[in-house]
Amino acid sequence: MLQVTNLTKFFPVAAKTPRWMPGGKQTQYLHAVDGLDLTIQPGESVGLVGESGCGKSTLIRLISRLLEPTAGAILFDGVDIGQIPVGDFSHSAQRAKLQMVFQDPSDSLNPRFTAFDTITEPIRRLGSKQDQRRLQQRATELAQQVGLPPELLSRFPHQLSGGQKARVGIARAIALNPTMLILDEPTSALDVSVQAVILHLLADLRKQMNISYLFISHDLNVVRLLCDRILVMYLGKLVETGPTDDIFNHPRHPYTQALISAIPAFEANPHRIPLTGEPRSPINPSPNICRLYGRCPKGDDGCQQAAPNLQPINDYHQVACHYPAYPQ
């Protein structure tokens, strides 16, 4: 379905001072996504977790073709969509099949578009020509599918609640029956009461429409509920991937362990977490030092000399660490 190989994105860090001026430096690069591989099977739901600034947003913007990659291939339905320039992708046949649900429902709805305009826009732009009546009918269908009362279709975003806005965003994303949906923290801006509704809605939609999900979140509790497989990302690289249960019950990478142990739970005791210090800079990182080095409790000289690569632990679990933990 989706196969990403060696995907890389560097952002130049604009130096205000050119090199020839006092205090000037050579242009540096922020390694947002650094040679990353991943695959998603049809109908599979994959979770991507990591801290803010680890490159999650950049990765999904590369995959959804909003950003031009520095290097690498993005195979979607057998077509390398990474080769299609961002500007031309909006006319490509794959566009309709690869859609996205955005993080902040307020920010992702055009304030001057009604819910109807927003939901039908992909159909009008990418679908076959349809008259107003058919559009209306389709919009009503979609609204019902996402649990939005159809009478709210004529409202503007500021007249809708957070949960309703989230539903509009989801309806827009599924309007063209995509085969793959990228969900960018779809519930992080919502209250828990609404979050639960939206999570149920997303689970139902996946079952009904057999869509693949790439679910991005920093909330592991949420990812656990919705995903079959988990990718853990740290500073532009994947550090561990595996089935959800394996990752939660037997995390191998020290960073994953830290993440799992930091999940708040009802009436747990305040826990000591193994990570200290500040993350390394993502700007021009040394390729020979493990990116977690300095924060990792296991780090030693070896981690400073060679950065670990993603290695299989078993058929479906991979980890990038010189000293992975073994299940007791």
Binding site: V13, A14, A15, K16, T17, M21, P22, G23
Partner: protein, 342 residues
Amino acid sequence: MSRPSTLSVVIRRIIAAIPSILGVIIVTFILTRALPGDPAAYFAGPAATQEAIDQIRETLGLNRSLPEQFIIYVGELLRGDLGNSLTTGQTVLSDLLTRLPASLELTLAGLLFSLTLALPLGILAATRPGSWLDHGVRVLATAGVSLPTFFTGLLLIYVFYFRLGIAPAPLGRLAILYSSPDQITGLFLVDSLLAGDFETFQAAFGQLILPAVTLGLFALAPLTRVTRASMLSVLSSDFIRTARASGLAPSMILFGYAFRNALLPVVTTLGVVFSFLLGANVLVEKVFAWPGIGSYAVSALIASDYAAVQGFVLTMALLYVVLNLLIDLLYTVIDPRAGVES
């Protein structure tokens, strides 16, 4: 977390001003060459003979290609040659230089007047939003920016000179009885004080007050508005809440925390304000017969004294570039983030 040194920031700003200067020179060059008809005829003035026009064409290099003309133009600029004024018979440069201090004195006095009024008014209004004081300040500021300076000037003359008789005749920097102080800075107020001549100081001050107020009223509005707006937004910001929660004294919060942060937009606005002031300067100088470069330009315009007008536009633009540079540097001093690469 390395911070660039102040020196490198200063040098960077100065270098960044070079394109502006170049742009200004190019635009003034285009303006001279864009004259409809024969530029040489314009420069020679309405009464010129054909020989005179031909001679001007030769000196301006109008028979050569545009790039060549531009190089000649830049070369002349570098030598300080702005041409000769038809009306005064002097070089434009010397005309401008003798008159510049008068304009500067007026502009600075106007700025000083509006700053001393605008900052307290803006702060007062911001600390009492919605009060009658706030509304009063708002109306005053809006009225100030709505007043055509030439009209305000005339109004003030009518009231304070003609009606009340407490202002001197609006005829320049000093009444005829006084002789101007020895030139040191060129600013009469400063020079007369340096010379210890209080009588002249008083006279010069009397002459200056109406035009300066006229000018200042115009700049009052943008400064008050921006002070109020930025004070308001800073006062409602999170870090002020932190300061209040920490129990800092109100004066510390208002001046140490809020005002310094609010000053950043005010400093930025100074650029616009100078643009206003330098423009309004021309009108005010005409109304008060102020012997600055503005009134010089107006009479040159009327006499079609083209070289003088060009010289004036260029001088004002360069002056403005320098002022903006100073504002930029001031900003860097206040805001530690200003010199940082994003």
